[in-house]
Amino acid sequence: MELASQDAELRAALFRFVDVTPACRSLDDLARHLTGYLEEVDDRPPPIQAAMRMSGTKPGRAALGAAAAAGVRHMAHRFIVGESPKAALKAIRHLWDNGAAVSLDLLGEATVTEPEADRYAARCLDALETLAGAAPSWPERPVLEADSLGPLPRVNLSVKVSALTPLLRPEAPEVGREDATRRMRPLLVRAKELGAHLHIDMESVDTAEATLGLVFELLDEPELRTGLSAGVVIQAYLRESPQQLEQVLDWAAGTEREQPLVVRLVKGAYWDHEVVDARQHGWTPPVFEAKRDSDRNFEALTGRLIEGWPHVRPAIASHNLRSVAHAVAAARELGREDRDVEFQVLRGLGDDLAAALADLGHRVRIYCPVGDLVAGMAYLVRRLLENTANESFLGEQQRGTPIEELLAAP
C-alpha cells in the first residue's frame, strides 16, 4: 500500500489489477493481467521487476497469480467484514464487545435488471433478520444504545437506492425513485418491526435528487413516522450540500417523527467520478475541487447539523482528526452532551480512530461492508483511491506530514 501511495502510475496499475481480479478465470489469467498493467509502469521498483520476471514461465505465472490473489484477498479482508451477514456476526460481535457499533453495507454488482434489484432487497431483509436474531445476545453497552433522546437500535443497516432499482436515470429521477420506493418500503416496515435502523446512503450527484425525494416521501408516510429509526447522508464535498442540509433540517423540523432522522455527514466518495464527468460535459464540477474547501465546508455543516438537534441526530463520519475534534468541540460549545453526536468510520481505515474515540466515551459506529470478494472489488478500489489519494488525511499521516500541519484550520 505504501509503495502504491508513492507512485501514481504504480498505484493505477495495482488498482486496475484489483479491479479485474474477480473477472480472471485462472491463476495464469491473473498473472497475465498483473504483468500487463505493470508493463505500463515506467519506473518499476525491484520487487515489481522480480514479479515481472516470474511471469515468463507457466509455473512462474501460477505462483505469481496465487501470490497476487492472496494479496488481494488479504487486502479485501481488511475492509470486508464477512462474506455474508451471518459470516460477519462474529466480527460484529467482537466490535460491539470492544465498544463500537456497526452499520452493515451489502456489497454487490451494479443493479441493471429487476431480478438483481429483487435479490438486493432480499439480501437486505436477510441482513436485518440475521442481525436482529443475534443482537439480543450482545452484552449491554449503554454508550452505544441510547442518547439523551432515548434508545438507539442495536441493528443498523445501510442501503443504496441504486441497488434497489435498474431504472435510476439522472434525467428522469422520478421513475427510478418510484421503482426503488416499492422495494424500500418493505425494508423500512421490517426494520421498524425489528427495531432496527435503516440508513439510506447517498451516491453520485446523478442519483441525489431521486434519493432525497424518496427519503422525504417514504419517511412521511404515517406508518413510517412512528417507531422507525432511519437516516440520510449529506456529502460535504458537494457545493450544494449547505442547501441540501437546510432542506433536510427543514423537513425534519416540519415532520412528526417519533425517532428523529439520523443525518450522517461525510466528505463524499465519488470525487473523481464527479470531476471527470463534469469536465467531459463542460459543466462546473458539483464538488469542491480543493480539499481545503471540502474540509472547511465539513466544519461549517457540522455546526449547522448539531444546531439541528433534537430534530435530527447528528453522525459525523470522517477520518480527519481535525474534523472529528472540531465536531466534539462544536457539540460541547452548543451545550450538547457527548452522546448526542455519533462518530462513524470505515472498517479497515478508521479502526484506530474508532478505538480512540470509544476510549474517550464517544459513540462510534463502524461502517462494515459485507459481501464476497467479487462483489466487493469495486467498493474496495474506491476505498483504496480515497485512502491513497495524494491529499487524503490518512495518506498524509502515513507519509509523516507533521501533525500541526494536518490539524491546521482548513
Binding site: 473477472a23 478465470r25 441493471v112
Partner: protein
C-alpha cells in the same frame, strides 16, 4: 509561410444541458409548450432569397402521425437548377471574402443556434421523435460544427509549409471548389446538415441544402440562422422536398462537391451519377458520402459487465437504434456469454418505450411507417430472447426493443443494416474470432471493445478496420474535435466529420512556384 495551426485551438464543445437538474428539464418542457403553440412551422423552398410556396410536403410527429410539425415546400428539378444558378452568383461574393470574415459569420450563426437551443431541441422531439438528451446533444453538435469549421477554415487559409530553396518561392494554398450540394438525413436533423453545410461555407463554397423529407423544420431553422448571421442569400439555398430535388442536384454539371450522409443505396447511386462527366462540365465532382454500418461491440472474458450492460443497451437502443453509430451486434467471449445474455435480457425488459417528450423515455418511436415495417420484418426472422415488457403506446411508429442471440451465420439480421431497436448477440471463442467476424463485414463505421487487458486493446485497435473504435464505453455520441467521425470500407468515403481533415474535401489545393531571381539577383 507558417504551418497550419491546430484546428482545435480555442475550440471547446458546447456543454450539453445538465438534465439531472430539474430546472433544466423544466426549461425544455416550457420550450416545447411554446413550440406546440406555433405548429405547424412553415418552411418554403428558398432559392437565392426568393421564397417559394411552403406546401407540398408535411413533416409529422412520429409519435403522433396526425400532428403536422412543418408544412414545407416541395422542391422540384427546376428549383434545383435555379438554386445552383443562384449559388454560382453567390459563390463569387462569398468566396471573395476573407476566410476570417466568413468564419465570423459562421460563429454568428452558432450564436443564434445557442440562443435558440431549447426551441430547436423541442423541434427535434416533435419532428424526429428524438428524446431530450439526444435532441439537446444534436443542437450542441450543430453549434460545435460551426465553431470548429470556422476556426479550422481560418487555419487552413494559411496554407501548408513547403520546402524552400534560394531563388524560388513555393506556396500552397487552398481555394474553395464552387457549388456544394448538401444532401442530409433526418436522424441528426440539425447537426448533420449543419456540419456539411458549415464545412462547405467555411471553406468559401456556396451551398444548396436538400434536407431529408422527414425533417425540413430543423433544416429551415438552420438556414434561417445562417442567413441571419450574414451568409448571402444566393450563397445558401434550401430545397425541402423528396428525392427528385436531390437527384437533380447530383446530376447538375455546375455542382462541384456533393456532401451526402444517408443510406448505402442512395450513397452509391450518388457516386455513380456524379461520376458522369459530360464534355460541358469543366470539372470532376468530388463526393463525400457517409453511408451505413453494422456496428459490433466485442466483449472480452475479463470485461466489467456492470459497465458493459448499460453502455451496450444505450448504444443499441438509444434513439431506437437510429444513429449511424448504433450498436447492432455484440460478439461476446463464450466464458462471459451466459451471464452477459442474462443481464442484457433483464436490462432490455425494463427499457422505457414511450413518446420522446417524456424524460423517462429511452426508446422512442422510429421515424416512419416504413421503418417500423422494416424493423418488424427483421425481428420476425429471429426468436426474441427478450423484449421490453411495457405495452407500446397505441399511437406512433413504435417497435419493441428486442434482443436476439445465437442466430445462424447466414441470418440477414447479422449482416444487413436494420437501423432500429434490434440487437443480436453472438458467442465467439475469443477476441480474435470476434475480429475475424468484423473483418468479414462490408461495413466499417463504429466498433466497440470491452476488455481489461492492455495487450488485447492494442491488438484489436490495430486490427479492426472501423472508422471509430470505442474502448470500454458506449459506441455512440462522437464529439466534434474529440472523436472525428466517419466510416471506412462500404460505410463511407470521405474524411471524418468534426476532424482536422474534413475541410480538405471542400477545397482544391493550389501550388504557386515563383522564380525570384532577377538577372542574377535574388529578390526575397
Amino acid at each position: 509561410m507558417s504551418t497550419v495551426a491546430e484546428p482545435s485551438a480555442g475550440f471547446r464543445n458546447e456543454p450539453i444541458l445538465e438534465l439531472r437538474r430539474a430546472p433544466a428539464r423544466e426549461s425544455l418542457l416550457e420550450a416545447l409548450r411554446e413550440l406546440d403553440a406555433r405548429l405547424p412551422l412553415s418552411v418554403p423552398v428558398l432559392v437565392g432569397g426568393e421564397r417559394g410556396p411552403a406546401e407540398g410536403l408535411d413533416s409529422t410527429d412520429p409519435g403522433a402521425p396526425g400532428r403536422v410539425v412543418a408544412s414545407a415546400g416541395r422542391a422540384v428539378e427546376a428549383d434545383a437548377a435555379a438554386a445552383v444558378e443562384a449559388a454560382e452568383r453567390g459563390f463569387r461574393d462569398w468566396s471573395a471574402r476573407p476566410a476570417a470574415e466568413r468564419a465570423e459569420v459562421l460563429r454568428g450563426a452558432a450564436a443564434i443556434l445557442r440562443e435558440r437551443r431549447l426551441e430547436l431541441a423541442a423541434l427535434q422531439v416533435r419532428e424526429c421523435a428524438k428524446p431530450w438528451p439526444e435532441a439537446d446533444g444534436d443542437v450542441c453538435e450543430a453549434i460545435d460544427f460551426l465553431e470548429y469549421y470556422a476556426r479550422d477554415a481560418v487555419a487552413l487559409d494559411e496554407g501548408r509549409a513547403l520546402v524552400q530553396v534560394p531563388g524560388e518561392r513555393n506556396t500552397m494554398r487552398y481555394a474553395p471548389r464552387g457549388v456544394a450540394a448538401v444532401i442530409a438525413p433526418w436522424n441528426f436533423p440539425l447537426a448533420i446538415p449543419c456540419g456539411m453545410t458549415a464545412a462547405a461555407l467555411a471553406a468559401g463554397n456556396a451551398a444548396v441544402l436538400k434536407p431529408a423529407e422527414q425533417s425540413p423544420g430543423s433544416a429551415g431553422a438552420l438556414v434561417d440562422a445562417l442567413h441571419a448571421a450574414g451568409v448571402p442569400r444566393e450563397a445558401l439555398s434550401l430545397l425541402p422536398g423528396y428525392g427528385e430535388a436531390g437527384a437533380a442536384l447530383v446530376r447538375d454539371p455546375r455542382v462541384h462537391v456533393i456532401a451526402f450522409t444517408g443510406s448505402s443505396a442512395v450513397g452509391l447511386e450518388i457516386l455513380r451519377a456524379s461520376a458522369e462527366t459530360p464534355e460541358a462540365q469543366g470539372h470532376v465532382k468530388r463526393v463525400v458520402s457517409e453511408m451505413g454500418g453494422k456496428n459490433c461491440v466485442i466483449v472480452d472474458s475479463d470485461a466489467d459487465l456492470d459497465d458493459v450492460v448499460p453502455e451496450v443497451v444505450h448504444s443499441a437502443f438509444g434513439y431506437a437504434g437510429q444513429k449511424c453509430s448504433a450498436a447492432a451486434r455484440v460478439l461476446v467471449h463464450e466464458a462471459a456469454a451466459d451471464t452477459l445474455l442474462e443481464r442484457l435480457a433483464g436490462a432490455v425488459r425494463v427499457l422505457d418505450v414511450g413518446q420522446a417528450e417524456r424524460f423517462a423515455t429511452e426508446v422512442p418511436p422510429v421515424i416512419e411507417r416504413e421503418a417500423q415495417e422494416r424493423v418488424r420484418r427483421y425481428a420476425a426472422m429471429a426468436p426474441a430472447l427478450a423484449s421490453s415488457e411495457q405495452p407500446l403506446p397505441e399511437e406512433g411508429w413504435f417497435c419493441a426493443p428486442t434482443l436476439v442471440a445465437d442466430l445462424p451465420d447466414d441470418s440477414p439480421v447479422l449482416s444487413e443494416e436494420i437501423f432500429g431497436p434490434l440487437l443480436a448477440v453472438t458467442r465467439v471463442r475469443d477476441v480474435d474470432e470476434a475480429c475475424d467476424v468484423i473483418d468479414a463485414l462490408p461495413f466499417a463505421l463504429t466498433g466497440g471493445l470491452f476488455s481489461r487487458t492492455p495487450a488485447t486493446i492494442e491488438r484489436v485497435a490495430a486490427r479492426l478496420p472501423v472508422g471509430n473504435l470505442y474502448v470500454n464505453r458506449g459506441i455512440t455520441g462522437a464529439m466534434v474535435g474529440r472523436q472525428p467521425f466517419g466510416g471506412n470500407r462500404r460505410s463511407g468515403i470521405g474524411s471524418k466529420a468534426g476532424g482536422p481533415d474534413y475541410l480538405l474535401q471542400f477545397v482544391e489545393p493550389r501550388v504557386v512556384t515563383e522564380n525570384t531571381m532577377r538577372h542574377g539577383i535574388p529578390v526575397e
